[in-house]
């Protein structure tokens, strides 16, 4: 045990003294910050050049509304005032022009306008068919937008909304129905989401159910899953590289003259676990401090932190042993990559299925998946974080199964590590690894 600890401490010190660790600490906040900054920069530097477009209005009723709504938008909704009274334009102005078809007809109109689009005189053209006002016109292509810039959707979206509002208004008027009244009658009644009422044990009073907190229901479980995933992905696969590198540099042979292969493997896995726990401690501490400042720290039950640490430990022991064994069995990184692919799928499995589990955390699917040992740490963590959590027996069964599976991984990993770490030459096959596990 002393040697395992010495190896683990050296691994931990080596890792935490490296630039990679510092980058690892900063990676998450830097990525989040960078994404916010880029979005802000993108907004500030949005292309606000005027968007000219032609309107072919064969109803002769809709262009005036398009023109007036565009003028209103250009003067108000896309303008933002600052404290000094200056006005800043936040989106392009829409400049419509009515295209007079004359006697040329539809085909010629479209060719002329298409040429103008190609010459960049206009962004596109909007065709309104004669039957657009008819309630039977829906779905028949009565409104059409033609352009070269298909990814630019702001203008066609605005046209669709503006023209449809006007068409509806005209249809209601034509039918002699008060649109405002219809709107009022059609209004939704929102559902308030509540927890359960309780009886106060001390006073015997009924405590009314509280409104469900969206943070506690979705953000917290999702955050736990994401952080756990990040911690496993950041530490376990790196073990493969470390072990393989030391094998190739013959450092392992020196270490094996002093420690058993099991001590060496466990020391490395434990070292990586310590690094990972340090990282998650830093992240969790920062998040807790922020939540405390925002006054929402009481939404996180302390037991959740303990479950997080437990599942992180289990995950790292489980996947760390597997990745260390793969690293020990290979002599080239290319061979290791082939073998690590199925293991990576196991690590990522919770990410493929977490959405349906979040929506229905106690469904048979959620129960089954969270009892599948390689996925248990992340998925049971997710289910525990979603109030009210799974039944206690499911948690106990999950913990039992995943602990047994982890011990099996450590045992099998140690057997592969023992033989593989000094083996040279041909890349091991899956069958060969199984034979190594079953060998005496």
């Amino acid at each position: 045990m002393v040697k395992i600890w010495r190896i683990a401490v050296t691994e931990f010190v080596n890792a935490t003294r490296s630039k990679a660790f510092l980058l690892g600490i900063l990676a998450l906040p830097v990525l989040i910050g960078l994404s916010i900054a880029l979005q802000y920069f993108g907004q500030k530097n949005k292309d606000v050049r005027d968007r000219r477009f032609a309107v072919v209005d064969r109803t002769s009723a809709l262009f005036p509304v398009i023109a007036s709504k565009a003028a209103e938008r250009n003067e108000t909704s896309i303008m933002r005032g600052d404290d000094d009274g200056r006005r800043e334009q936040t989106a392009p102005k829409f400049i419509p022009e009515l295209f007079d078809e004359g006697p040329a007809g539809s085909a010629a109109t479209e060719l002329v306008l298409a040429d103008r689009v190609r010459r960049k005189e206009i962004t596109g053209y909007f065709l309104i068919a004669t039957n657009a006002l008819s309630p039977e016109a829906a779905g028949e292509g009565a409104l059409a937008w033609s352009t070269e810039a298909h990814s630019y959707s702001e203008l066609p979206d605005w046209l669709e909304q503006t023209v449809n509002e006007e068409i509806r208004r005209l249809r209601f008027a034509d039918a002699g129905v008060d649109q405002a009244l219809v709107h009022k009658l059609m209004g939704n009644v929102p559902v308030k989401r509540l927890g359960l009422s309780n009886v106060d044990a001390a006073t015997g009073d009924v405590v009314k159910a509280k409104t469900t907190n969206r943070f506690a229901t979705f953000a917290l479980p999702g955050g736990c899953l994401f952080l756990l995933y990040l911690m496993v992905m950041g530490s376990a696969p790196a073990l493969l590289n470390t072990v393989l590198e030391e094998k190739m540099q013959k450092i392992s042979e020196v270490l094996l003259s002093s420690a058993t292969p099991f001590q060496l493997m466990m020391g490395k896995v434990l070292g990586a676990t310590l690094v990972s726990l340090t990282l998650s401690g830093l992240y969790l501490g920062t998040v807790a401090a922020l939540m405390w400042r925002m006054g929402v720290l009481d939404l996180v039950p302390p037991s959740l932190v303990l479950w997080f640490v437990f599942f992180q430990l289990v995950s790292l022991l489980m996947f760390g042993s597997i990745f260390a064994a793969i690293g020990a069995s290979c002599s080239e990184i290319r061979d290791a990559q082939n073998l690590m692919f199925p293991v990576m799928l196991l690590v990522m499995l919770p990410f493929f299925v977490f959405m349906p589990i979040m929506q229905s955390p106690n469904s048979p699917f959620a129960t089954g998946m969270s009892l599948f040992p390689p996925a248990t740490p992340m998925l049971m963590m997710l289910r525990i974080a979603i109030p009210p959590g799974p039944p206690w027996w499911e948690i106990a069964l999950g913990v039992g199964l995943t602990t047994l599976f982890t011990l099996a991984c450590v045992w099998a990993g140690a057997k592969i590590f023992r033989i593989g770490i000094l083996a040279q030459g041909q890349a091991p096959t899956l069958g060969k690894l199984v034979r190594w596990v079953l060998s005496k």
């Binding site: 002393v2 040697k3 010495r6 190896i7 050296t10 080596n14 490296s18 030391e246 540099q249 013959k250 450092i251 392992s252 042979e253 020196v254 270490l255 094996l256 003259s257 002093s258 420690a259 058993t260 000094l422």
Partner: protein
């Protein structure tokens, strides 16, 4: 721990009895028995792939034999003695990103050495090998020779009773080679047992109390240099003649000639005096010395590609 002893009452640091190691269908070491007296320098020689490194790894219990028994420093078939063994592997293994001081402290700690003791030993050894300036440099900043000396220090720092050195001199320049040789002999003088493998026959002749040769997994030589040489008799003649190797062509009694450039080494059959007469009749002699075969010559006789027979010493 009480060490085992041989028939002459000598304490043995290492004792191998009927040890066999196979890798798949290949037998790397075949029924090997060996007794390494405590306090001696024991040289392992043999061609590449003959089983030297496998034997050394079995002594360290990195590999386990398929058959036979290994006793090291009185510990039978366990790793219990490993903390009392220093090991320098054939290919050097040092953490490139760690400083010299940290690497040595780490390796010493794995041998159970206390931090305070290891720090003092690091200072002592670095000063001894002229590397004190490099203590806080990363390994990657060292030259090959310096790194090799650091690897040697990592093997001796915990004051092992048994030192196992696999090709300690490979790739060293003459200056560093002398430094390392002196350091190894100093270990012997302080009572430690040294086992080292080498391809340098001259070095083995100079340094070893005993020489062991393994060929195709089997022991072919084992004993003192004098005993090994005497078992081959005085069938070697060193000579320098006018006309060089051409003058020796076709002379009766010459079994083989090794041309050394300025002189020749002849393995003769029959009486060397007869050879002397025949040579004197053909050419002018400047040197004629009857000698025992060198270790190099013995090695070649056993392991030359043409030689398929296995000779037991």
């Amino acid at each position: 721990m009480i060490l085992p002893s041989d028939a002459n009452g000598r304490s043995l640091a290492v004792k191998l009895s009927g040890v066999t190691k196979r890798f798949g269908q290949h037998t790397a070491v075949d029924d090997l028995s060996l007794a390494v007296p405590a306090g001696s320098v024991y040289g392992f020689i043999g061609p590449n792939g003959s089983g030297k490194t496998t034997t050394l790894r079995m002594i360290l219990h990195i590999f386990h034999p398929d058959r036979g028994e290994i006793e090291v420093l009185g510990e039978r078939s366990t790793r219990a003695a490993n903390d009392r063994i220093g090991y320098l592997p054939e290919e050097r293994g040092l953490y490139k990103k760690m400083t010299v001081r940290r690497v040595l402290a780490y390796y010493a700690s794995l041998k159970g050495m206390k931090s305070r003791d290891s720090q003092a030993a690091i200072v002592h050894w670095l000063a001894k090998l002229g590397l004190e300036k490099w203590a806080d440099q990363k390994i990657e900043a060292l030259s090959k020779g310096m790194a090799q000396k650091i690897q040697f220090v990592s093997a001796v720092i915990a004051r092992p009773e048994l030192l196992i050195l696999d090709e300690p001199f490979s790739g060293l320049d003459p200056v560093n080679l002398e430094v390392l040789r002196a350091a190894i002999l100093e270990q012997r003088q302080s009572g430690r047992t040294v086992i080292f493998s080498t391809h340098d026959m001259a070095m083995a002749e100079q340094m070893c109390d005993f020489v062991f040769m393994i060929y195709k997994g089997r022991k072919v030589l084992d004993g003192t240099l004098a005993a090994i040489q005497s078992s081959y008799g005085e069938d070697t003649v060193r000579l320098r003649v006018d006309g060089g190797v051409e003058a020796l062509r076709g002379i009766e009694g010459v079994q083989s000639v090794r041309d050394l450039g300025q002189s020749q080494e002849v393995r003769c059959t029959g009486d060397p005096q007869d050879l002397l007469k025949r040579l004197a009749a053909r050419t002018r002699l400047h040197l004629f010395e009857v000698a025992r075969p060198s270790l190099h010559d013995i090695f070649i006789r056993i392991a030359a590609p043409a030689s398929e027979e296995v000779q037991h010493g």
